[in-house]
Symmetry: none
Subunit: 240 residues, 2 copies
């Protein structure tokens, strides 16, 4: 299998072998690779030789290594385009992925300062909060809270349950077109709850977009806070 005579270093031969297994699908995206010690036994070489190969694979973006956990085949990232007209499910369908939006919770609550300011209403006014999770290819990629002013959309929860999408729900209330007024993008470590919702370790950061959608008249109709698993999602800002 490995040759110590043909001039090609062992680590390079191992690199090529693993690379072939990754690109050919023997190891699938996201899958955990054998540990260094397992590879050591498999190839009958020293751990450093394995590490040299893994380092090169990491540099070349084929694998991702997490200390204390293992090495994983890098998943192709999911693009999340942001423009003035952004729809989550549309973004994903455009990439031929199966989008899934799971409604987790829907409650009426009082608007706190941030929500009130975003929706241009008074603090304490009742808003409907819809919590949902986004999935793509069976992977949890987002966790979002959307706030709607209840006075504008009474009974929005039932409609949302029925249609399962923000666009069609708002359309039901006569808001046929809305656009993104502004998007704020930040990044931080997740809380334990957030990490749990995103099915990711709490040691990995999350990407967060805070956006305000307004109707044709400029009235805010939705304030959304969306958390993305940063390992799997990148945000693409395209000129509109």
């Amino acid at each position: 299998m490995l040759s110590r005579k043909n001039g090609m270093p062992l680590w390079r031969q191992i690199y090529l072998k693993i690379e072939a297994d990754v690109t050919s699908g023997v190891f699938e995206p996201g899958q955990k690779l054998p540990s260094e010690s397992e590879f050591t036994n498999l190839f009958s070489v020293n751990r450093h030789t394995i590490r040299r190969a893994m380092g090169a694979l990491t540099d070349d973006g084929l694998v991702r290594v997490e200390r204390g956990r293992g090495a994983f085949v890098r998943e192709p990232v999911i693009n999340y385009p942001v423009s003035s007209r952004t729809r989550f499910s549309e973004n994903l369908t455009r990439q031929h992925r199966a989008p899934g939006n799971v409604l987790l919770m829907a409650v009426d609550t009082e608007a706190d300062v941030a929500v009130a300011e975003a929706l241009d209403i008074k603090e304490g006014e009742i808003v409907t909060r819809i919590t949902s999770a986004g999935e793509a290819d069976g992977r949890r990629v987002s966790y979002s809270n959307s706030f709607f002013p209840r006075t504008l959309f009474p009974g929005i929860v039932r409609i949302f349950r029925e249609f399962g999408s923000v666009t069609r729900t708002l359309s039901h209330f006569g808001v046929d077109d809305y656009s993104r007024k502004r998007t704020r993008i930040i990044s931080r470590m997740p809380t334990k709850e957030e990490a749990g919702e995103l099915h990711q370790p709490k040691s990995r950061p999350v990407l967060i977009t805070e956006s305000i959608n307004v109707d044709e008249t400029g009235t805010p109709v939705e304030f959304g806070i969306c958390l993305f698993a940063s390992d799997w999602v990148q945000i693409l800002v395209e000129p509109s």
Copy 2:
């Protein structure tokens, strides 16, 4: 000199030391560096630790090693006297740069896959890399690498140092207007090196924008990778 307690690996500390000596001119371009065994004695570490640092320096294009002969400072085509505090003056928001930028390094290097693809050139073609850091209120907020195709902008570094701004530098080359083709935004944990450059703990995530600027004809003129300290920076996407 070296610390075994501060969390930064010895090889990285050595890397930074040698890098500083190279960029500051203690070791001049083309000059032979001390041998591995000499470095071993100088730093009182194992030869492998030196080799790790030299490997990184090689990867980053600062030195070039010749088997059986030694390691040498890579000669940039243009010789840059290192006055490491060059100020960007104006029009910085366009490059996602905060006021108070310092030029850290400018070297000609070979384009890797990502850079080549972004600039629409061949891998290995020479590009000019300008590394700089942004500061605001005395706090390090960004660390960026910009890549320019050298064939389009020969001697860009001297011009850049003269004008101090990307806009005016490109204008000198006849690129009077350029625009952002696309911006990719991701977030991840920083490497220790990146955390060091950003003067932030390595436990805080970084926001990263990768952008491509093109001229009127659509030809890529700059590829920039900018890291932000996510604790201090948020990205605002507003409709244009």
